[in-house]
Symmetry: C2
Subunit: 343 residues, 2 copies
């Protein structure tokens, strides 16, 4: 996944970045200190590996959702929010470590993946240790509610990854299948990040629910955006080569829509490429996507989810977190605008 | 690992089996029903894989420790104990799934491993899903204590596996290193199984502590026994070939002691075999082990841990679980006696 925190190529609302990310700087610094402090709890042999992963991340979107959903003013960096931000980030990092084994990915954000750096077998166990540590931190709250929410989300994220992996190179995937995978593997952790932030800040149940729905839709929007990046991103900025989803047979929304719109003969060759029976023709597929307006169609799907996220908070305009969370929608819109390929 | 529940070749105290395992039959049946019931909570794509793993296990040593440590008479199969027995078993099954990826093992107990059956990438995620489900069940107790104990143990088990994996093919391992790996990867889950059983049954703190120490020592004893099985077991009974630790460069206690006792020239060739620089000479090493009395030395190490386990319960003879837990020591002793190679 690419970063939500980088400055946009086409900042539709430049103040959104300035507002949201400047506000979060002390929280993120505290989170970093906290995560580094956790390294001491790992066995010496794992410490350097865990440190490498924490360093690799750099995005911190889920912690941002925790901090913003639980927002009570810029000075309030509460230990509970920092700890739960660490929990969701560690779960996310663990899934990245295991994902990169599945994908046989060598590079993530211009750095070697843990799988490449330490070997896939050590990476399996490193991911396990990060998961276990996240759950361990989640048990340090007074009630089981936090731990239950985190373990349930972790289970769903794993399920999403499994379904995606089992379906790889299958071209018999519907939009509903894609939606389900995105809901499990990405939207769930976004949702629970907002839930935990709002809940730990003591928000009323209606707001906790609204923030959770916001998080889910933002997560879906973000994943679709991320799938667009794989075709329309800037390689030097995202730190990996384009077209990896096509090459690995991952049927994301841009490819699903392209398949729907191509004439039958071309559809057959694209299907063969996705199935790994023919080498992928990235340049051809990008040209077809441009000719058929695929970017616009998929960008509209991102916008529909952003609209749903916005609607979830409509009845809560007076709440402190609301404008900040909506600021994230502006950020994502600007990111999508920054991708738009030359006509 | 081989089974503690199979009948011994040389049953020193045959009543131990009859007593302990007949008593546990209703508990194990209930556990099986509970685990099968959990399958419905997995996404459809994972259900068959999870079912396959639950089927593969068949040993249930850790659940036995839960039930026996929390023993309150044969009729008391309490839902709390069944659930926590499922938790420790699922954590164990998850580690087996991930272990078999590390070991590139094709067969476990005469069946294909999950990694072989579904491929290593699906196995990574299947292990994750089993871990996450175990933790999820652990959050269903009223306090965070159970979940905290389980997540902390899971973390240690993962750490033990990592250390063992990183040290594979290294011959620079001391007995202290071996002890630490065994403590983390095996003894910890035995310990926590006894802790959870005694704790959930409402035992007084002194007994919870004693049962935990018992579990830890039994776990160490069991792991050393299991390492002996890899050289002195019966292939048809353990369901895999002998000498896998030598072949994969895993420096277990029988190999450590052999290295210590061999003359320098032979030590160099064994070191080269462990390092993977020369093909393993299993028949030669078995002959040397017999000539140097390695079996007896390692069996004594098992006995020392059984003695320590027994000592942990010395001050609690009147407690219901005590004779049953000590019965497990008899079972393990008989298992070791069943291994003794012909002179």
């Amino acid at each position: 996944m690419s970063s939500l925190t980088a400055s946009p190529a086409n900042p539709a609302k430049p103040h959104a970045f300035a507002t949201v990310f400047a506000l979060l700087a002390p929280h993120m610094a505290e989170l970093d200190r906290y995560l580094r402090g956790q390294l001491a709890s790992f066995e010496p042999e794992i410490r350097a590996m865990a440190d490498y992963c924490i360093d690799t991340s750099g995005k911190r979107i889920r912690p941002a959702l925790v901090f913003l959903s639980g927002w009570r003013g810029p000075a309030a960096v509460t230990p509970d929010l920092v700890r739960v931000a660490a929990v969701v980030e560690l779960v996310h990092l663990a899934t990245l470590v295991h994902d990169d084994i599945m994908d046989e990915a060598d590079v993530r954000r211009s750095r070697r993946t843990a799988s490449r750096e330490y070997g896939p077998t050590a990476a399996v166990l490193l991911g396990d240790a990060l998961f276990a540590h996240a759950l361990h931190l989640a048990t340090q709250f007074p009630t089981t509610e936090i731990c239950a929410a985190v373990s349930d989300s972790t289970r769903k994220v794993c399920a999403g990854e499994i379904v995606q992996t089992l379906r790889r190179r299958s071209t018999n995937i519907t939009r509903a299948d894609y939606q389900r995978i995105v809901d499990l593997k990405t939207a769930e952790l976004f949702r629970v990040s907002c839930f935990l932030g709002a809940r730990l800040a003591g928000s009323e149940p209606g707001y906790v629910d609204a923030a959770s729905r916001f998080g889910r839709h933002l997560g879906i929007a973000y994943q679709i955006y991320d799938d667009l990046v794989d075709f329309f991103g800037d390689e030097s900025r995202i730190g990996k080569t384009l077209g990896t989803d096509l090459a690995s047979g991952k049927l994301t929304l841009p490819l699903l829509v392209l398949l729907e719109r191509l004439p039958a003969s071309e559809r057959a060759t694209l299907t063969a490429e996705l199935a790994g029976e023919q080498p992928p023709q990235l340049a051809l597929r990008l040209r077809q996507m441009r000719d058929l307006g695929i970017f616009g169609i998929v960008a509209d799907a991102v916008q529909a989810e952003i609209d749903a996220a916005t609607a979830a908070l409509r009845e809560w305009p007076g709440y402190e977190p609301t404008p900040l969370l909506l600021g994230l929608c502006d950020v994502l819109q600007a990111q999508v605008a920054g991708l738009r390929p030359a006509a």
